[in-house]
Symmetry: C2
Subunit: 466 residues, 2 copies
């Protein structure tokens, strides 16, 4: 069971000006209970699709059926997706398989190598295309993930990989593509039917950034040997834990601390700092969840608020040698959330050596997990000594169950933050203009007006070149 | 030649409140010229070691001699280092070799696989140790990088890898270790002499975060086939370009915009957003440079200032689907620095397909580089439409020369920012307490006092567990 430890975010440790006091929490409590009620009501009304995912046996069954069909013949799985169609996949793979997974032999891995192409970087796409093509494409499976099929990045990658598969495999190409998309309509849905791909569902009522526990995130995970039943069970357990303790559960506690820190203690910058390389990409998943859900110009009453804490990721111990100088001595505007692991998936012991070297002798016979853990406490202590608040989320182990717990915890915290900030946490209106501008710049039909608006902007003014 | 384009950071584009005006620049100019003079004087006095690196032929020669000795027999190079002894290595490798480099065959790579272990994550170290050990260690070279040899993370990794090499290779182990360390004294220096390793210099007068163009960063790069002469030539060219145009060069321009944005326009958050996966790890290198150099409690007169812009990394297009919602609609507190590439190392063309699918037809026959470039301009435009300032650093190509230019540019900008903020940009006093606390928690001799201070802190108070 993951646990939240929050003493070091309180006034008792970092002082009144920077820490959350019991009075702050008491004052917020009625609103927090209302917020929890409101989220619960939305869930009960079926308006928050993500809440149904942990116990949606149908999706897991569909995913497992396709995994049974494809796993034994697939040596390379390429996921084409971006944003919510990639960050969860990357985070699950990083958390639950070794960092060197793709470098292992087919036999040692058991499942396919995994490439999640979440950008249209020309070199990256070209290099990956060649690399997987070199094995002949017989063992290649492409999982294209897009609700509409019209996301420019994913669509262009899809066209490129589909062409490659057709060239290498002829008519058989369609049996090397799984489309995760809208179940009823849309460009990718129609192509999948015409070409004859297996399909998985992007649930209609779940936004991209809340979709990791749907087939969007589950298929690549299960293909790579991750126990998705346990992942969902963990999420379901957190859901139950939250539901059975209204306003007294870890989600409400974490939301309260984050909200008070942001609005009353001058801490709009929220660092997530795992002391674990495996958990680091979860911080990227969190960055999207936090930024897109909470970064909003207007509240639900239409007032301009320009709200939204800025999420930052950092890695312990690595960023002690990069960011901690700033976190301790720069502006006291950050709340740090440490992720800590009690039992790591593997461990290494430092040999009993250099007994006569004063600077090294204390390291002898220690486990790296002990050193990592000491460094985490040391950093927490050093931040506290400079009145910088932090909380810790503790994982007993990095397992599908605990990762599932964490995911649901943060999704729920995001919903609570949306309520407290009185904003719509489920839209992303500011993304539209960029999409339209891209279409206009690419000459897509119907975007001539936007193209005209952009034209003066795209001309390079040489007076501003240095 | 890399170029800075800064029109979209001006009042003309994003308005008075958020943009830098000509009046702002004129007002700052005398101070900027003084700052440039001051940095120049420090360089001339030999106090800023990093400035000597681009033209230090000796280091490059030493590195190349060792590369000649080791390259043909090395199939795996493991770098043990952290912070400034890792971030530059990772950034150079990512920028100048394919992302899939380690997955290529020995023949296709030419050089060794590269593993930079910049953390003591137990699972990562254990997995890597096993992976490279499986090839028998005959082709393994360990490059341990530490000025003192007493950095806890690097020292413990070093002890582990040294033991492994001894077990596998017996007395021959020493010819599989290259120590990059202090040239005269220190724990690692002494061990290297006793064991008989080849050594490279960590220059005494160059801080870790400014050391990428010293043997610290050059050796792994050259081992992996990167042209370090061109890298240094690029840095030297930027140095020359800055020197010959006092206060009118790209470094002074960029520093002026960053300084004004931070201190007068409410933009303490500085995003670096490359539109290139290869350049993304340069943003991590920048994060250290920026955070450790500029995040300071006191100015040079001893006044408490708690200064320091917060560096953030983002990746285009990927983070358009994650962070841009916040960047456009959240608090207008960010200055974005885009990195843009004109000619990518490789390119891919979308096939001429789906002519009858309205949502895809505009993508036909386009190159991914064109799409990436359009998305960058679209994002820049969308930010500007919300009065969010940005600047762009343009790379003609991603080559050792342009990467060298970029590195020196940012190092110099950092020095200028230090002058303008009137702080010491070359120390990192806040890191010490965490180090001491780690020693205390690990039971190192001589840290009993610190241990006593920490003791109450480490006891878990169950009242704060959720």
């Amino acid at each position: 069971m993951i646990q939240l430890y929050w003493k070091n975010a309180t006034d008792k440790v970092v002082g009144d000006a920077h820490g959350v006091s019991q009075a702050d929490l008491d004052e917020l409590k009625p609103r927090m209970c209302q917020a929890h009620e409101a989220v619960k009501a939305q869930i009960d009304a079926g308006r928050l699709g993500y809440a149904a995912l942990p116990t949606h046996a149908g999706y897991a069954a569909q995913v497992k059926a396709l995994v049974d069909k494809y796993r034994s013949t697939t040596t390379d799985l390429v996921v084409l997706g971006i944003g919510g169609s990639a960050l969860g996949n990357i985070a699950l793979q990083a958390a639950l398989n070794p960092a060197i997974y793709n470098l292992l032999s087919d036999a040692r891995r058991g499942g396919p190598r995994l490439f999640v192409l979440d950008n249209v970087d020309p070199a990256m796409v070209s290099d990956t295309l060649k690399l997987v093509g070199r094995r002949g494409a017989r063992g290649l499976l492409v999982n294209v993930i897009s609700k509409s099929g019209e996301t420019a990045e994913t669509a262009s990658q899809f066209m490129i990989f589909r062409e490659m598969l057709k060239k290498k495999l002829g008519d058989d190409f369609a049996s090397h593509i799984v489309a995760t998309t809208d179940t009823e309509k849309g460009t990718l849905h129609e192509i999948a039917i015409a070409d004859g791909y297996d399909m998985l569902a992007v649930p209609g009522d779940v936004g991209g950034r809340f979709s990791v526990l749907s087939p969007v995130g589950l298929f690549s995970a299960a293909m790579c040997g991750i126990d998705i039943d346990e992942l969902l069970a963990g999420a379901a357990e957190m859901q139950e834990r939250i539901a059975t303790a209204p306003c007294m559960n870890p989600a409400c506690r974490l939301a309260a601390i984050k909200y008070i820190a942001t609005t009353a203690k001058g801490k709009p910058t929220h660092v997530m700092m795992p002391y674990s390389n495996r958990l680091y990409p979860l911080a990227d998943w969190y960055r999207q969840l936090w930024a897109e859900s909470l970064g909003k110009r207007v509240d639900r009453d239409g007032n301009e608020v320009f709200t939204g804490p800025t999420p930052i990721k950092a890695l312990g111990t690595t960023d002690q040698h990069s960011q901690v100088q700033l976190y301790r001595e720069g502006p006291n505007d950050k709340l740090t959330v440490f992720l800590e692991v009690k039992k790591h998936p593997k461990d290494v012991r430092v040999p009993d050596d250099f007994a006569d070297v004063p600077g090294l002798t204390y390291l002898r016979k220690t486990k790296l997990s002990k050193l990592l853990s000491a460094e985490k406490v040391a950093t927490e202590y050093a931040l506290a000594a400079s009145n910088r608040p932090s909380v810790t989320i503790r994982f007993d182990e990095i397992m599908p169950h605990s990762v599932g717990e964490f995911i649901y915890l943060y999704e729920f915290v995001t919903s609570l933050m949306g309520e407290l900030l009185n904003i719509d946490a489920y839209d992303q209106p500011a993304v539209e203009l960029g999409k339209k501008a891209t279409f206009a710049l690419m000459g897509r039909e119907g975007y001539d007006d936007v193209a005209a608006d952009i034209k003066p902007f795209t001309r390079v003014d040489r007076n501003y070149l240095s």
